[in-house]
């Protein structure tokens, strides 16, 4: 795959790397001040800050001098993807609130009532996913394909279960790194799909996740707080891309990237998670990267990049 022109690469560094570094600095500062117990909240704040900075700085880099790449407040004629920032922030907030509920429930409930804590955590999360998935599919598309909204909600919830479960088992930095890789792959897929804005959005979130991954990995902190941001954006962005733009890329490529995080579900099984750590880490990384490579290979076979 050829590299884009140097000028474009430098632009990407400016609107992705700097905000990612800013998000990472925020996470580092929070961990230093509040300790590792604040890891989840710090990760959520870091990814939100990194993405918000990148979205805002897009206006200075020529995408639209008067407004961010994605509007903070969708207007009346908003497209479904204009609701992505709002969806991500809602899920981040619900994720953190339900974490707090989980901590309180764990403190006060007897051990045999562990399932009550799970209900208190996952029912609100499922409800939040149900609400935001309606924002992210247009009425017209939802009317034409009745199962799209429920399928999107199911994908988002399952990805949240998979990513949150693995992150909270001590692999917070790695999960943020997996999400970063998935979003970078999504960004390249969008380039092949000839939708530049969607590529920028994916790259911005990939950069923000990378910043969180580096700090959480070094500090061995819990970065599960950042997971909902990726959950709220990934499947919806790829769905919007497939619905709103035609290209020769097979549908399978979009599915492979959108659902890549689900390969982590088997690692929630205690017997699997108890295997040798290096083996589990290697297996997880390979399983996450494999569908991404396959998706990009499919895209490269059917389309050409603008600068090729």
């Amino acid at each position: 795959m050829p590299l884009p022109p140097l000028e474009d690469l430098l632009l990407v560094l400016e609107y992705v790397a700097l905000p990612a570094a800013g998000g990472a600095a925020l996470v580092a500062a929070a961990l230093l001040l509040l300790g590792r117990r604040a890891g989840a909240a710090a990760a959520a704040a870091g990814v939100a800050f990194g993405f918000a900075w990148a979205n805002h700085s897009a206006r200075h880099l020529g995408w639209d001098a008067e407004s961010p790449l994605l509007p903070w407040t969708p207007g009346d004629d908003a497209k479904p993807w204009h609701h992505l920032p709002r969806a991500a922030f809602v899920l981040l907030a619900v994720g953190l609130l339900t974490r707090w509920v989980d901590l309180v429930a764990g403190h006060y409930l007897p051990e045999r009532r562990w399932w009550v804590a799970n209900v208190l955590v996952w029912v609100p999360r499922a409800a939040a996913v149900g609400v935001v998935s309606n924002w992210l599919v247009s009425e017209k598309t939802a009317g034409e394909v009745w199962w799209l909204v429920p399928a999107l909600a199911a994908a988002m919830l399952l990805e949240w279960v998979a990513l949150d479960g693995v992150a909270r088992a001590g692999a917070g930095g790695q999960v943020a790194a997996y999400q970063s890789a998935v979003f970078v792959a999504a960004s390249v897929l969008m380039l092949y799909h000839h939708w530049a804005s969607a590529s920028h959005v994916a790259l911005m979130l990939g950069g923000a996740m990378f910043g969180v991954a580096v700090v959480a990995g070094l500090a061995k902190a819990d970065a599960s707080g950042a997971v909902p941001a990726g959950v709220g954006v990934l499947p919806a962005l790829l769905l919007a891309a497939h619905v709103s733009q035609d290209s020769n890329i097979p549908q399978a490529a979009f599915w492979l990237v959108a659902l890549a995080p689900l390969v982590l579900l088997p690692f929630l099984v205690p017997a699997v998670a108890r295997r040798d750590r290096w083996f589990v880490r290697l297996a997880r990384a390979v399983l996450v990267l494999a569908p991404l490579v396959a998706a990009l290979a499919l895209a490269a076979r059917h389309e050409q990049l603008a600068f090729e």
Binding site: W63, E66, S138, W195, S197, Q245, A306
Partner: protein
Amino acid sequence: MARTLIALAAAALLAAPAPAADAKYPLTGENTTITFTGFKPGGKHDGGFKTVTGSAVVPDGDLAKLKIEVEIDCTSLFSDDPKLTSHLKSPDFFGVKDNPKATFKTTKVEKTDKGYTITGDLTLLGKTKAVSFPATVSATADTFTLAADTKIDRTQWGMTYGKGKIDDEVALKLAVTAKK
């Protein structure tokens, strides 16, 4: 005397010109060319639309009463670079999957020293804005011709991608040679 008067009246009736019928000229991709040029620092790109349907009606032979209704199939968009064409069809620009049609409908035509000024409603990306442009127009018994060069601000229709890197103004060229 009465016979003379009757003969004179009959002659007057026969000499009076019959009221002109509305002349309708169908507009298609074959007789109507709609092209555009987008500009960026250090360059430009040309493009257009291949599929157009509509009509130009000249009531009573009076071009000042000209009515044009045109529907443009945005999926027929082309440009000087196939990869750019794909990007132009994306939601960053024309979003042709969600907005497959653009329309133009005249609301006023005024005679000027150099030709005519045509005013109409251009609907693009689901938004309707009034546009006005000078044009050279003529209509004979069986041929209608129109030529116009104008510019529009794409951001007025919500096409804001690249604002600051790509010029907001897009040059539009229209050329019609339509036969009845």
